[in-house]
């Protein structure tokens, strides 16, 4: 890893990471999903949500709820932007809340970050929630923090209280 990358990662303190995560939450809540896609690193990206009963689920062997690489993430956004993602047309109102942010030590040029989340989803008079913990790997590209990978581990023992998971956590 180049010294420049180390230096950039080193400047990412908790306040900067929190600002970045709040920006991500705001883009998701505003349904600016194209904007959300620009927060991701250029290569090797992955967005994973394991099943509720297997929080340690490995997408290569186990069934998970979401396992998006760059292409699938882009297609997920295209789908949600269309009027034919019926579950999300019209869109839910969401409120992504991020807290208990903890920075780890850089690994292979990535900065591990964990944070708690509560995502509220309101639609058709129904309120549902997703509660759990994010596991990020952040990088710095062109002087900006970017997401290499994001794993959202749900604390709810079943997905039932929320029904389904058509939105992005």
């Amino acid at each position: 890893m180049s010294a420049a990358t180390e230096l950039d990662l080193a400047t990412l303190d908790r306040a900067a990471v929190e600002d970045f995560l709040y920006r991500e939450a705001a883009l998701l809540d505003e349904w600016d999903l194209d904007g959300w896609l620009t927060l991701w690193a250029e290569h090797g990206t992955r967005y994973v949500v394991p099943c509720n009963d297997t929080p340690d689920g490995d997408p290569a062997q186990d069934l998970v709820l979401i396992d998006d690489d760059e292409l699938r993430m882009r297609l997920r956004v295209e789908r949600l932007n269309s009027r034919k993602a019926h579950r999300e047309y019209p869109h839910s109102r969401t409120n992504h809340q991020v807290y208990n942010v903890v920075l780890g030590s850089p690994v292979d040029g990535d900065l591990p970050v964990t944070a708690s989340f509560t995502v509220w989803r309101f639609r058709n008079g129904k309120a549902s929630y997703y509660v759990g913990r994010y596991h990020y790997r952040l990088v710095v590209e062109r002087g900006e923090p970017r997401i290499r990978s994001k794993r959202a581990v749900l604390d709810m023992t079943e997905l039932r209280p929320a029904g389904d998971l058509a939105i992005i956590l």
Binding site: D53, T54, Q61, L63, D67, L71, E78, R79, A162
Partner: protein, 431 residues
């Protein structure tokens, strides 16, 4: 086509399932979806009396392995006995004063100890430990205080079912024509299927029968799942082959849609998405199937998709991945859905990966299709509440040999539903 055996009308009223072949009309009264009385009758006449899916033997492969889950809304657990090697399904309640004895979702154990008074049962259900046993009189029969097994437990090709009705016909008879379709799946994997770790446990605020219909509904695929087909095309799947097919009445309310697969299947139809490196492997799998089962049966295993509904609430779909899905109502307008993915044990990692991808993108509650089914079902339930329209129309394809996108398979389900409900399938006038 099976004719309805009309039960004697006991209530002054009319059938909730109304078949009028002369006018090519089949309709179902919307009270079947909204009525509390119908729901209570279903619990008694359908879920207490039919064989219900519990789980797969691969989930309890080793002696002492267990899984806990509700079946027919009752907490039960399935355990492989350490001594006998047999798969038991027990009511999850202590025979002493009632507390649940299996308190973990899954695991391996030699004993189940009730935490309340520490009564201890072995994996065969026998009562082995009672603290302060000397306090009981010598005539008390402790053997009779073993864990209570569900009245009937039988399995077919690894699929374990239970029935709360001691007088029910054997499972093999109950499954009728569905057996052959389970055979197709299991034989294609040389008899060695397993449930993959990770369970989809979601919820739909709609009547459970809407999911029975939806699981074998070819008519909705294009309009509802437009974004999913776009996704497949973006991946490079050639859909031009189409999904032409038909449906079959498998007896006892079971039904299947069987149709062409324009996409690849891990067993055993290659497509570019699988990658060049998997081409030989899939060709080899296919050659083995042909050698073992002949060209015709091998082609069915490899080239066709099958969406099967086993009455009342089990769906086994063999599409790009195999799903085992069960659903249970907790109210007229709400059901819990539980779905597992089944796959050949020890298959190549790249095929397993493709299978996992297919399952979660199409069948999973966070995929590109299932959320839209959930929306459709909930939308129907909301529409029912509007009133004004009393009947659902399920007449499509009544005047021809059934196509895959007709509704003959739903009529198979509803006829059986009406038979099982008997007089409760009537609507009393003025109710």
């Amino acid at each position: 086509m099976t004719q309805v055996e009309h039960p004697p009308a006991q209530l002054a009223g009319f059938m909730l399932v109304d078949e009028d072949p002369e006018h090519h009309r089949f309709r179902v009264h919307r009270d079947t979806m909204t009525s509390e009385q119908v729901f209570r009758d279903e619990l008694e006449r359908i879920f207490q009396r039919c064989w219900l899916y519990v789980g797969h033997e691969s989930e309890v492969r080793n002696p002492g392995d267990y899984v806990r889950r509700p079946v027919g809304n009752r907490p039960v657990f399935m355990v492989r006995g350490v001594k006998s090697g047999k798969v038991h399904v027990f009511h999850n309640t202590c025979t002493h004063r009632g507390a649940v004895v299996c308190r973990q979702k899954s695991g391996n154990t030699k004993v189940f100890q009730c935490f309340y008074h520490a009564w201890t049962f072995d994996s065969e259900g026998q009562l082995k430990g009672v603290p302060g046993r000397e306090a009981y009189g010598e005539k008390l029969d402790f053997d009779a205080l073993a864990l209570k097994a569900v009245a009937r437990v039988e399995s077919y090709r690894g699929f374990v079912f239970a029935c709360f009705d001691p007088g029910a016909a054997p499972l093999v008879d109950y499954l009728a024509g569905a057996r052959e379709y389970l055979d197709l799946i299991v034989d294609s994997a040389d008899g060695d299927m397993e449930i993959i770790k990770g369970t989809n446990e979601y919820c739909v605020e709609a009547n459970w029968k809407l999911l029975a219909e939806n699981s074998v509904d070819g008519y909705h695929a294009l309009p509802t799942h437009d974004t999913y087909f776009k996704y497949l095309v973006a991946l490079g799947t050639d859909l031009s082959g189409g999904v032409a097919g038909t449906s079959h009445d498998l007896g006892n309310g079971h039904t299947v849609l069987e149709y062409a697969a324009p996409w690849g299947r891990p067993i055993a139809k290659w497509e570019p998405l699988f990658g060049e490196h998997a081409r030989d492997e899939i060709a080899g799998l296919r050659a083995q199937l042909v050698a073992k089962y002949g060209e015709a049966r091998a082609a069915r295993m490899a080239d066709t998709n099958r969406n099967m509904l086993i009455f009342p609430n089990l769906v086994v779909n063999d599409i790009m991945a195999v799903t085992v899905r069960t659903f249970m109502p907790s109210a007229p307008g709400r059901m819990d859905v539980t779905a597992w993915e089944m796959a050949p044990r020890g298959e190549l990692p790249q095929l397993r990966q493709r299978r996992l991808d297919s399952f979660l993108t199409f069948l999973g509650p966070a995929g590109f299709a299932t959320p839209d089914d959930v929306e459709a079902l909930e939308s129907c339930q909301q529409g029912f509440n509007s009133g004004g329209v009393e009947w659902n129309d399920i007449s499509r394809g009544m005047a021809r040999e059934p196509h895959g996108d007709d509704e003959a398979q739903m009529r198979v389900f509803w006829r059986r539903w009406a038979e099982r409900m008997g007089s409760a399938g009537h609507l009393a006038v003025g109710r």
